[in-house]
Chain length 145, copies 2
DNA sequence: GATACCTGTAATCATTGACATTACATCAAA
DNA sequence: TTTGATGTAATGTCAATGATTACAGGTATC
């Protein structure tokens, strides 16, 4: 039984940004090229390119092609990437059961008792994501090459 | 576009434990009763009952029926509940794209660069979950009634 | 020991998200 | 105008969630 993970769009997006920076002086970074490095379909890449662009993290050239970070890598946090691609409807990490029984004292109160705590958990995770940037990734990459 | 949340089994399980404690002196807490308070099918409840039991968090009486916490509520953390019901295959919160291209310097290194960071994020979340217990929930419930 | 009430669990089914893939409209530079 | 690229709609497959029916297996009580 597998399950319930944050989608691979997130790690793919980080991979994409890393490639954009790593190859920026060497070649035009197209969706085809990214797809080859990541090993997924180019259309998947293009959809994520759109999301990253919409979030203001990258610039994509139409016609001529090619994508690149839109700001200094120190200013692109994992949280920025996470929010750009992980389209969580109401922005809550936890899915709450929808219709607890209002005639039961527990059912009537469970939501307000849990909401604050669930938010704290989510914020702990987001705080951690916010402390990591694409610059850190590039630094590690240079060490590994 | 909805998406990618931790399943409602978690909040349902917390709700179940809360009911077990809240009604323990008043009535037998059966899967039917829990299903009515939570407003889901009794079979869903029974499956989660099994998971909580397997994790050693509750005791369930066969035949006669009824479920109750197996240990003091201070010792049942949100993390215990999370791990009991959220059956994540390899225990990683993030889903990594599987086959980065080993012939690309980025594809070859991305996994080792990200793994540690993703683990840190997961641990931040789990640390927060570990700091919350069912006793806290009961305290809040009493305040709300 | 028959009955009545529960739990445990298998088997379906509908719905939804992820991801792959094909197809094509659109764009911009050479 | 030709040539790459991007943008995106449309499908298809697969897996997980959650609802539901059905029934086998316990256990207390009459």
């Amino acid at each position: 039984m597998e399950a319930m993970q944050i989608s691979s769009r997130f790690t793919i997006a980080i991979h994409m940004l890393t490639c954009m920076e790593a190859f920026k002086d060497e070649r035009k970074v197209t969706s085809e090229f990214l797809a080859a490095s990541i090993n997924v379909n180019p259309v998947v890449i293009r959809r994520i390119l759109s999301q990253l662009k919409e979030a203001g993290l990258i610039e994509v050239k139409r016609g001529t092609g090619g994508a690149a970070p839109a700001k200094p890598l120190e200013e692109i946090t994992f949280l920025d990437v996470y929010r750009a691609v992980e389209c969580i409807g109401d922005n809550t990490l936890f899915h709450f059961h929808e219709n607890p029984n209002p005639d039961c004292p527990v059912g009537r109160n469970i939501h307000k008792i849990l909401d604050g705590r669930l938010l704290k958990v989510q914020q702990a995770m987001e705080r951690e994501l916010q402390g990591m940037t694409m610059a850190d990734v590039m630094a590690d990459l240079k060490k590994n090459i």
